[in-house]
């Protein structure tokens, strides 16, 4: 049973009549009382269409206003049928249509902000109500148009967005404020008689019942339509929700002549399919939860609709007129069949048969006839279909589809068993511009969907074609027609689901950004683009809603928001919008210096002298001085027996050097000159000296005084992994630059026994700070792609880098199969590696051949492979020398 419900799909109707009015850019639609005239009102024109005679050309009346028409309504009494109220910005104009042209009868001024809705009284020909963002709802009597006869003040933050007179008695008015409804009794004056918390989100439409005095419906952003009885406002009598929870823009009861119906406009969510730009007809029955009919065809959001009773065609069919953002107006019919479905739905709830089943039995039963299937598909209504040829005798069809720049020529062959036993055969014919991957994908989904339809004995061509086009659009992206543009007043609010645009910050149109190498990129709004402020607003608005809430009355069409018109030469308007600056000089870190600075740890005075020359060469007089001083200090240090002095200040040959250097480094760091600060740290801080493993035994002489230093706790293994990390970073960097280097890392392990020689002039207390400076400078060098310089700087960082979590070298014990990082197995206390050359266990630095897995003392490895290429192990012919990079 549940499957049945899911399968229910509404009857699909297409338009009876469609007219494209591209230039009109109308935003409001209304039909007069007699049903003779259709008014389309826009910023520039009022257009009148004679509905008695479609051939009569459209009458255009220029009105060149700065502001969009937010609402236009013909009066709904016979006496006043020539009157029409049009709201633009804060003003309401009441026009009287004479034979030749409209005459401005009254201007109603009382609102202080944009008027959002107008409603005429259905009994009093001179009475109308208007509501506005300024939160007020005014009642006007046209016989006294100077001021409103009644002003209803909703003491709340949110403006009134909709107003509606009760259709039965005309005594009540409903107004919508965000998600709340207020019901007013015009006889009782200025306080609401009911507050209804109808929706959690903004209400877009209110409509009173034509028959029941206390009933009304609300359409909301939250994707539901609720039925309320104002005498029992606690809970909604009935709630219908849209299939996908898309906002409902309008919901209106069908006119009395068409019973039990309700028509809604859905605003499809951003990026959804065009099929959702449709009117939906629902039954008023409490049990009906899915729409009865879907009027499809519009390619964009429907802005408004109106009913029309056609008195001259001798039929009781109601027509619906729609105006959409795709700039077309269409006419649809509510015929007897739909009426039947609507009523049936109410009755059938008793005998348990759904209207749709009924409908399907009655309308799609003859789908076995191919001819019939073809005849009921209205091809132009399927987007993207350009040309089609159907041949019922040969039982095939050729269809040309164009979407997103792709062309599909599809051949469909219908086997005789179609649609009951065998699905049609689809084939992409030559001329199709799909790549293999895409065509396979589309073909698969075609087959799947046709097979599933045919399994149920249903015709599938239209279904498959629609699915094909939408799949194609989905796969290839960029379905331009549905890209959101901030253009239509108020509608934009409906397009964002959860929160209205008033909470989304106003778009940034200028910006500034530094990158890591000192490049500054800026962009700004071109001068031809509009300024956003109003006269009375000195600063730029804060929220996006300012764009659509009436500040910019003339946002129009599908053109980009910010440009005044399409005529502007884009090239000149956007030409200089992005600027890229070299701001590196401002940042006190210079690439030239970084490239040319030298680091000679063994000869500090020479290093300082060289660097002074570099500074001189690039015109940095300020740094020349610094390096000169540094040279003086370095000379003094070099002349003393520095290695033994450690960092005790008083035994230092130059007691002022330490404080002076520290102050100097601090000064440069504060200035942001990391380069100089880090170079000074490197020059006078502690550093490592690399000595080969053979001399390593001499290297611990200064360790006694170094209990504060962590380095002597660093094992050989740790140092190795540190180097691995540097190596990884280096390889990665090389890789990123698109270069390749041969893999030869083992040579760096040869003499990796590192010993620290403490020559620090700088104190221990700030070590962390100095390390950070060095690391930061190293990062800058990395950006400059000066990788050797970076690695050299990092050598002077005192704390080892974080261990790599991805690469780790462990040795597996041959006896207990446990892994260990130390030279001996922790479990069985046996040594793990034996040198294949001297047969002794390896405790120090070791190398293992990755192909024959023989290990060597690094020293022995060097010794052997100096003269040989092949592994020294008896019988092993492994060309280890290659693996060690020794050849």
């Amino acid at each position: 049973m549940e499957i049945e419900i899911e399968e229910k799909s509404p009857v699909i109707r297409t338009a009876e009549y469609c007219m494209n009015l591209e230039d009109l850019q109308a935003t409001a639609l209304s039909i007069n009382y007699t049903g003779q005239y259709l008014l389309l009102a826009g910023r520039r024109h009022l257009a009148l269409k004679n509905l008695y005679d479609y051939t009569e050309p459209l009458k255009l009346f220029n009105r060149n206003s700065k502001f969009e028409v937010s609402c236009a309504e013909f009066a709904i009494c016979n006496n006043s049928s020539a009157f029409c109220a049009i709201a633009t910005s804060q003003l309401i104009e009441v026009l009287k249509w004479t034979e030749s042209s409209p005459v401005l009868e009254y201007s109603l001024r009382a609102h202080t902000r944009v008027v959002t809705d107008i409603d005429w009284h259905s009994k009093h020909p001179y009475m109308l109500a208007t509501c506005s963002i300024d939160t007020y709802t005014h009642l006007w009597d046209l016989r006294d148009p100077k001021r409103p006869i009644l002003s209803l003040s909703a003491v709340c933050m949110s403006g009134a967005t909709q107003v509606g007179f009760n259709r039965v008695s005309g005594n009540f008015i409903a107004t919508a404020h965000d998600g709340d409804l207020r019901i007013w009794d015009i006889r009782k004056g200025s306080r609401p008689v009911q507050y209804i918390t109808a929706h959690l989100n903004r209400i877009h439409g209110i409509n009173w019942s034509h028959t029941e005095e206390s009933n009304l419906i609300t359409a909301s952003q939250d994707g539901s339509v609720k039925f309320f009885d104002i005498n029992n406002p606690r809970r909604a009598e009935r709630i219908i929700t849209t299939p996908t929870p898309s906002p409902v823009w309008r919901a209106r009861y069908t006119p009395p002549a068409f019973k039990e119906g309700l028509v809604t406009i859905i605003v499809p969510l951003v990026g959804s399919e065009s099929g959702e730009n449709s009117l939906l007809l629902w039954s008023n029955s409490k049990n009906s939860q899915s729409p009865i009919c879907s009027f499809t065809g519009h390619n964009d959001v429907i802005l408004d609709f109106a009913y029309r009773n056609d008195p001259y065609r001798q039929s009781n069919d109601i027509e619906i007129f729609t105006w959409s953002r795709d700039q077309t107006f269409r006419v649809w019919k509510l015929d007897k069949e739909l009426q039947k479905l609507c009523i049936q739905n109410t009755i059938e709830t008793e005998n348990g048969e759904s209207a749709l089943e009924y409908h399907q039995r009655n309308s799609t039963q003859p789908s076995c006839s191919l001819q019939h299937e073809f005849s009921i598909i209205f091809f132009p209504s399927i987007p993207g279909i350009q040309k089609y040829e159907l041949d019922t005798d040969k039982r095939n069809a050729m269809i040309r589809i164009v979407a997103n720049g792709f062309i599909i020529i599809l051949q469909v062959i219908f086997p005789s068993g179609y649609p009951f036993s065998s699905p049609p055969i689809f084939e992409f014919c030559p001329g199709t511009t799909l790549d293999d991957n895409l065509s396979l994908k589309l073909m698969k989904s075609l087959k799947d969907s046709s097979a599933s339809r045919v399994k149920k004995g249903k015709a599938c061509l239209e279904h498959c074609l629609r699915a094909l086009v939408s799949d194609l659009k989905k796969e290839t992206g960029g379905d331009k027609a549905h890209y959101l543009r901030l253009q239509s007043p108020r509608l934009e609010g409906a397009l964002s689901k959860a929160l209205s645009d008033s909470l989304i910050p106003f778009p940034k149109t200028s910006g500034v950004r530094f990158n890591a190498t000192g490049i500054l990129v800026t962009f700004a709004r071109p001068f031809t683009a509009k300024r956003f402020s109003l006269r009375n607003q000195t600063t730029t608005p804060r929220a996006l809603s300012a764009l659509s809430g009436g500040y910019l009355g003339n946002v129009n069409g599908s053109k980009p928001v910010f440009y005044p018109s399409k005529d502007i030469d884009r090239k000149s308007s956007t030409g200089v919008s992005i600027c890229i600056y070299d701001a590196s000089k401002l940042l006190m870190v210079s690439r030239e210096l970084a490239e040319n600075y030298v680091i000679i740890p063994t000869n500090l005075p020479r290093m300082c002298r060289k660097n002074r020359e570099v500074a001189e060469e690039f015109g940095r007089a300020d740094l020349v001085q610094t390096w000169s001083i540094a040279e003086t200090i370095a000379l003094a240090l070099a002349s003393s027996d520095f290695e033994l002095s450690d960092d005790e200040m008083f035994s230092s040959p130059n007691p002022f050097a330490k404080t002076f250097l520290e102050a100097l480094i601090n000064h440069y760091a504060k200035l942001g000159d990391v380069q100089t600060a880090a170079m000074l740290c490197v020059t006078f801080g502690r550093y490592y000296q690399e000595i080969s493993s053979r001399t390593s035994s001499f290297s611990t002489k200064s360790n006694t005084s170094q209990s504060v230093s962590p380095y002597h706790t660093v094992t050989a293994m740790d140092v190795n992994s540190q180097s691995v990390i540097k190596y990884n970073a280096w390889v990665l960097a090389q890789h990123l630059k698109g270069q390749t280097r041969s893999n030869s890392w083992s040579d760096s392990l040869d003499d990796f026994r590192i010993n620290e020689v403490n020559r620090s002039v700088l104190g221990e207390s700030n070590r962390n700070f100095y390390d950070n400076l060095k690391k930061f400078y190293a990062d800058i060098l990395y950006c400059y792609n000066l990788l050797p310089a970076r690695a050299l700087i990092l050598k002077f960082v005192s704390s080892p880098a974080a261990f790599s979590s991805t690469v780790e070298f462990v040795t597996e014990c041959q006896i207990c199969k446990k892994t260990s990082k130390s030279p001996s197995c922790l479990h069985c206390k046996k040594f793990l590696l034996y040198c294949s050359y001297c047969q002794l266990p390896i405790k120090g630095s070791a190398n293992s051949c990755l192909s024959c897995s023989h290990s060597f003392h690094t020293a022995h490895l060097l010794e052997w492979f100096e003269n040989h290429d092949v592994c020294p192990v008896a019988g092993c012919r492994c060309p280890c020398a290659d693996n060690f990079g020794m050849t």
Partner: protein, 317 residues
Amino acid sequence: MVSVLQTLDSGHEDLIHGAEIDYYGLNLATCSSDNTIKIFDIKNGGQRLKADLKGHAGPVWQITWAHPRFGNILASCSYDRKVILWKETNGEWTKYYEYNNHDSSVNSVSFAPPEYGLILACGSSDGSISILTCNTETGMFDVKKIPNAHTIGCNALSWCPSALPDSTFDQKGKQTNPNNGVAAQIKRFASGGCDNAVKIWKEDGDRWIEEHKLEVHCDWIRDVAWAPSIGLPSTRIASCSQDRRVIIWSTEDFALWTPTILNTFDDVVWNVSWSLTGNVLGVSGGDNKIFLYKENNDGIWSCISEDAENAKDVRHT
């Protein structure tokens, strides 16, 4: 001295909302109201359009580059409530990951310092902040969400740099645990929103908790920028707001933040950006002007250019 390297015609059909140069200064990415992102190769003064990324169904508000160690990755956020990560493989830009668990426009995206891994924070008008952590081995994303981080909406995000000196971590501790230096660092980021507050968030176990709420601004915060740390004891955040002010917040211990009002501008301020070493601050706003501020030796900030155009004449000492 600032010199113009080049000017660029983005070719976007609508206004640009963001322009960002990658780590090495080789690529420029721009995003626009025309729903697209364009990537230009600007190496050696060239400006070749490399890619035109279409995938958003609404204006793209912001873009940001990931650290190159993760590959060429760009993150974008849009009005259509989506966050998309784009990745370049063999010169082809494709969608790498799409995140659409926000209920409203996503206004800001920001990558964490690379030491923490590939982590992206996204701030949305639905008030929440999402932290997307990519497991680079599996390519899977782990999502943590801070619901209701800012009432009404979150407009900006910026991560705390990782190289900050950690005062709680003394040297003794360092010795016994030499590899703790980076691993033990607390992840923090700053966010600004429509509640007029700048908030400091800190990771605590597997949760993010609000460490501080800085309230001086009297209108929506539009941007926050955490200054890069070169190791000085104090750390700074710049924030700018609809109230036309730029405030620099500084702290030494993450407990007490001292605000300094940099300036009150003529129009709302939209962007703040620190230079690499944190000594220059770029500011831009609704009046279409770009300002550069520089701090002198005594900690006084002064404007060194009203527009980057004029900055050509400014020489540093």
